[in-house]
């Protein structure tokens, strides 16, 4: 099957520092793929390169949205990446704190709307319809995510776990085919993590959105992922199914240090 995201030879330099080194990765439609590695391995940098926040120094990022042609998206602006159907969440939550939960999700719809200044002023029928549709849609997403009780709360007033989920809801609102989740379970308690596990699977199964996630919680990673990529010092050191990764020596070494190996 044709991968929907194909990253080839990706490298990223910051000054003299090589944060990513010749990385390859691919996601096939309908997959949940995890990207793991020790702290500072370059996982978030990898996300930032894909989503256009940093232009990569070398390499290709190719996407193939369902039913469309393959495109190279190196170095295009973040908003264009989102328009093409890649949505992300952030490691440190980046909601719009002084907007309501509903509005946060509505922002996600932005690039799928067309109302301009004139539309906003005149409130012609198509604009009204569009707004209604977006409100409706946003509400549905919030229901799926389980946040429908908080619709009119300020985002900043939500509990931590709910904020994480709201980020996912907001990303889903951009109508992506691939969702990039940066440590979605960080800071969650085991109960919340379990819910998240269900939620992510649900997103893949019911919405048909493929998922690429960075995560430290191994239990979650093992339970969710179809395939796992492991990076260390900006290099890919292993890839494979959860079972394969569990027994991979290089991975164990990277995680636990040299001593264990001996």
């Amino acid at each position: 099957m044709e991968p929907i995201l194909k990253v080839q030879n990706l490298s990223m330099d910051f000054g003299g520092l090589r944060a990513l080194n010749d990385l390859d990765l691919d996601v096939i439609s309908g997959e949940i793929v995890a990207l793991i590695g020790p702290n500072g391995a370059g996982k978030t940098t990898f996300f930032n390169c894909i989503t256009g926040i940093y232009p990569p120094t070398e390499g290709d990022i190719l996407i193939t949205p369902p039913g469309k042609k393959t495109k190279r998206i190196n170095g295009i602006k973040p908003n264009k990446v989102t328009e093409r159907g890649l949505a992300r969440t952030f490691q440190n939550i980046r909601l719009f704190p002084n907007m309501t939960v509903l509005e946060n999700v509505m922002i996600g719809h932005h690039c799928r709307m067309r109302a301009g200044i004139l539309g906003a002023i005149l409130k012609d029928r198509s604009t009204i319809k569009e707004e209604e549709r977006v409100v409706e849609n946003s509400y549905q997403i919030l229901e799926k995510i389980g946040l429908s009780d908080f619709v009119n709360e300020f985002a900043k007033n939500l509990p931590y776990g709910a904020q994480r989920r709201l980020e996912i809801a907001r990303a889903m609102a951009t109508d992506p085919f691939l969702l990039l989740l940066d440590e979605p379970a960080a800071g969650m308690n085991p109960h919340e993590t379990e819910d998240l596990d269900k939620l992510i699977k649900q997103i893949r199964d019911k919405e048909g959105i493929s998922i690429l996630l960075i995560e430290h919680d191994m239990k979650l990673v093992m339970s969710l992922s179809d395939r796992i990529f492991v990076v260390d010092y900006g290099k890919k050191i292993a890839q494979g199914t959860p079972a394969e990764i569990k027994n991979n020596k290089a991975v164990i070494k990277a995680y636990l240090g040299e001593d264990i190996d001996a």
Partner: protein, 390 residues
């Protein structure tokens, strides 16, 4: 608490120095310094009291008064009607002078609402807003002087020129963040003023352009009094239009994008919002209003010169927005009325009025950092819609 003690001691000292220095005014300044230090003591006490109160107040979760008033339709609607009625009959009840200063205040309401788009909604600190105001004013002044174009013809042109300059300024500063943006816009404002001041052939330099015609009503010749009343109603209409416009905008897709931009630029971009385009729209729309305000200013004053467009003007407009409450329409209106009318009514205090004005700014910010009317904007109409849907 113990901090207030050194403050008082230190504060009084320089004044004593002045007494020493000004032998001839000894008694006068002595009494004055005593008064000032008394006022100062009083203020500090009040401040401490206020801070303690604020700390206590945070725990008791009470929604702001104005918010409650605005939520409650039973109070809100009659209130609006009264305001509207009052606004309608105002020029016939009050003197020409009152009407005139109210026109000035209304111009600032418009400017404030315009700047509110840029600063309040999109979060772009613009210290050169007055540049667009000047552009609008000179557009009318020059077109009127050279070609005799009338107010109504120039109003859209002035707005258009504002937009144009907004975009012109917008492009180079798009990359800048925060205070760098502020200082560049400040520079831009000064550049415009200096060009107007120095380029005599174009703008008649510092002596300005006089005898700009007032807006005419169906070609009728009007007395000053008539013209002022007419101007007043034009202003009321335009302000209503502005309020309508901004209100619609901020509840729209574009308005949401602005707020998102203000809240978190990176996340905003990651949500598929074109940062550059959004910023540019904000700048251009803000500038449009300033351009319109400028035309009105020229028409009201019938005289323009560069001295009216100094950086202080930008600062005052910014104060209106922040003092009133960033992003809040009602706040901006209240802010404009207070900041423009207050100095007029403070005339009785003549030389103390700017001092009082400065103190007022500090006090308001210290006690109500969110502005006089904060949080109001954030009540969105979607509430109702969403609930009915569920």
């Amino acid at each position: 608490m113990f901090l207030t003690f050194p403050i008082m001691v230190i504060r009084v000292n320089p004044i004593e120095k002045i007494i020493e220095w000004r032998w001839n005014n000894l008694i006068l300044v002595g009494a004055g310094s005593f008064l000032i230090s008394m006022v100062w003591r009083y203020m500090i006490e009040r401040k401490d009291y206020g801070t303690r109160k604020a700390e206590a107040g945070e725990k008791s979760d009470q929604p702001p008064l104005i918010q409650r008033v605005m939520k409650d339709k039973r109070i809100y609607t009659p209130f609006l009607i009264i305001v509207a009625l009052f606004a309608c009959i105002f020029p016939f009840v009050f003197s020409m002078y009152q009407t005139n200063i109210l026109i000035t205040a209304l111009i600032y309401v418009m400017l404030g609402l315009g700047l509110n788009i840029v600063v309040g909604l999109a979060g772009l600190l613009d210290l050169g807003y007055v540049a667009f105001y000047a552009v609008g004013a000179y557009t009318y002044a020059l077109l009127n002087y050279h070609f005799g174009l009338t107010f109504w013809m120039v109003l859209p042109i002035g707005a258009g020129m504002g937009t144009l300059f907004g975009i012109l300024l917008g492009f180079p500063v798009l990359r800048l963040r925060g205070d760098y943006l502020a200082i560049v816009t400040l520079g831009f404002g000064e550049i415009i003023r200096l060009i107007l001041e120095n380029w005599n052939e174009f703008s008649f330099g510092p002596s300005g352009i006089a005898q700009i015609s007032r807006p005419s009503f169906l070609g009728m010749d009007m007395s000053v009094h008539g013209a002022i009343i007419y101007m007043y109603y034009i202003m009321i209409a335009l302000c209503l239009f502005t309020i309508f416009f901004v209100n619609r905008l901020q509840d729209s897709r574009i308005g949401r994008a602005w707020i998102a931009l203000r809240e978190d630029e990176t996340a905003c971009q990651a949500m598929g919002i074109d940062k550059a385009k959004t910023k540019l729209t904000a700048f251009a729309l803000g500038a449009t209003w300033a351009g319109m305000g400028g035309v009105l200013f020229a028409a009201k004053t019938t005289f323009v010169n560069p001295a009216s467009f100094t950086i202080w003007e930008s600062i005052i407009i910014l104060c209106i927005v922040v003092l009133g409450g960033m992003g809040s329409i009602v706040g901006v209106i209240v802010g404009a009325l207070i900041l423009i009318l207050l100095p007029e009514y403070l005339r009785a205090f003549s030389e103390y009025r700017m001092l009082a004005f400065g103190i007022l700014l500090v006090i308001t910010m210290v006690f109500r950092p969110g502005g006089i009317v904060s949080d109001v904007r954030r009540i969105y109409q979607f509430k109702g819609t969403a609930e009915t849907k569920s």
